[in-house]
Amino acid sequence: MLLRKSMRLTSADVTPKSVYLDRRKFLRGIGLASVAAVAGKSLFELVIPQQSVLAGTKLTTIKGPFSTDEKINSFNDVTHYNNFYEFGVDKDQPAKNAQKFVTSPWTVSVGGEVKNSRKFTMDEILKLAPLEERIYRHRCVEGWSIVVPWIGFSFSALAKLVEPTPKARYVAFESYYDPGQMPLGKYAGIQLPYVEGLRLDEAMHPLTLLCVGMYGETLPNQDGAPVRLVVPWKYGFKSAKSLVRIRFVKDQPPTTWNLANSHEYGFYSNVNPDVDHPRWSQARERRLPGLFKSHKTLMFNGYDQVASLYAGMDLRKNY
């Protein structure tokens, strides 16, 4: 019973991130003082590899539309429970292994069936449109969910700049892959680089977020720095991380999990309580850090405004 009690947290129990990091700085300070009288922070990081998250750069945001008022998960949950197979298949591995991931300089090339194919630097992306904070539900295909305050803007803002031609019907999103920086990638059991895709109308939907930050700061490495996609009505794996290439294409692009197991992971992968994963039911979800599957999963993860995109489609067949 002790166990259950300790897990029943409210938002009041969430340690503010600044305090969380300050505590570490404080402990670091004590450790340092005992080891050497004068030592720089960088020296300390050389001696003791950081387990915490490197503090990101603060981002100025405006309140975006579509935010939920549900309780936001703690920063610690969202940064220490990640599926990022390039950095290891266990949920706690990305937090450790992505620390040294180099995300600057960074460019994203956008091309394919567009009038102006071009490369964007991170600076350009950050200034492309006003940054909005959007608090979205995030539902993983594995049956758990979290609530995250993302920062970014609708992907359509970027798409309009490159002007897709009438031939463009799908968009393919490719993640960065460097076996040197991601040595565990070869044990991931999936084809890398990671590729995801959306139909053009899905990609252009205002809910589809080109995401550059969360919790008021730039993205931590393990959460897909420096720029990722967030598609809140689809299972989490559709929201590719650390994007380097975006291509507008004629035909449905091959996607990583669909290639790995088409029977279990469809191209659409909309959150749907009525279509089971072959190995488990999707009717309920575990809202982390809860123990029980106490939340009912909602159609399109509760984002009903996308329903019209699938009018007349059999979502059992197009899972």
Binding site: V89, E142, W144, G189, R279, W280, L288, P289
Partner: protein, 216 residues
């Protein structure tokens, strides 16, 4: 070494050591660490330790013979019962936290999802083995029948590995490692059985062949 293994202190220490994984599972909750998905953590840890103890149990017989340490038999029942103990915890997390004791939902799962079916089978096979693990039951059943019954352990271990293999999304390396271990331990038994059979066959054949050879 023989004296060390025969000591009741050794057995008591091993008993406590086998509780270590349980302590490691409880510790983060008592120690105030935050685990984002506590249920998954408990479920994976108890599942892992069930498989490990199944492998330990299956390793006892080969090790006894390879290392010529017959005393190791003293620990086999305990290791097997620990496998059952962690399997019970594992099964309980599923029953309680995943399914909230909804029997209909559970049957649907067992019927519909092969990965649950084999896991369920692996667990249920261990129940009669745990019950008949006492000296009284060995006497009641008779050594031969008891040994045959307890070969269900092999099937349980195989099912456990398949359950793990089917559970993972893509990273099959660890389940394959368990598959290799269980495979090796079972292959050793098969080889041992074949060798023994040949040896007894040879032993039976030799006295007959000897006079023929002598006549040449």
């Amino acid at each position: 070494m023989h004296k060390f293994l025969a000591s009741s202190w050794t057995k008591a220490c091993l008993f406590l050591l086998c509780l270590g994984p349980l302590a490691a599972i409880i510790w983060p909750f008592v120690g105030g660490h935050t685990i984002p998905n506590p249920l998954e953590f408990i479920q994976h840890a108890t599942g892992d330790w069930t498989l490990r103890f199944l492998v330990f149990t299956l390793a006892v017989t080969p090790l006894r013979q390879l290392l010529r340490l017959p005393e190791l038999i003293r620990f086999r029942r305990m290791l097997g019962l620990y496998a059952f103990f962690y399997a019970c915890l594992h099964f309980t997390t599923y029953l309680w936290f995943d399914k909230l004791f909804d029997v209909r939902e559970i049957w649907k799962d067992v019927y519909k999802r092969p990965f649950i079916t084999v896991g369920f089978l692996a667990f249920t096979l261990l129940i009669p083995l745990a019950i008949t693990s006492t000296a009284g039951w060995i006497r009641r059943l008779g050594g031969r029948r008891w040994r045959i019954l307890h070969r269900a352990m092999y099937i349980s271990a195989i099912c456990g590995v398949i359950h793990y293999y089917w559970q993972v999304k893509s990273a099959v390396i660890r389940p394959l490692l368990y598959a290799a271990l269980v495979g090796l331990l079972l292959a050793w038994r098969a080889a041992d059985w074949l060798l023994r059979r040949r040896r007894t066959a040879l032993a039976n054949a030799l006295p007959q062949r000897a006079p023929i050879d002598a006549s040449r």
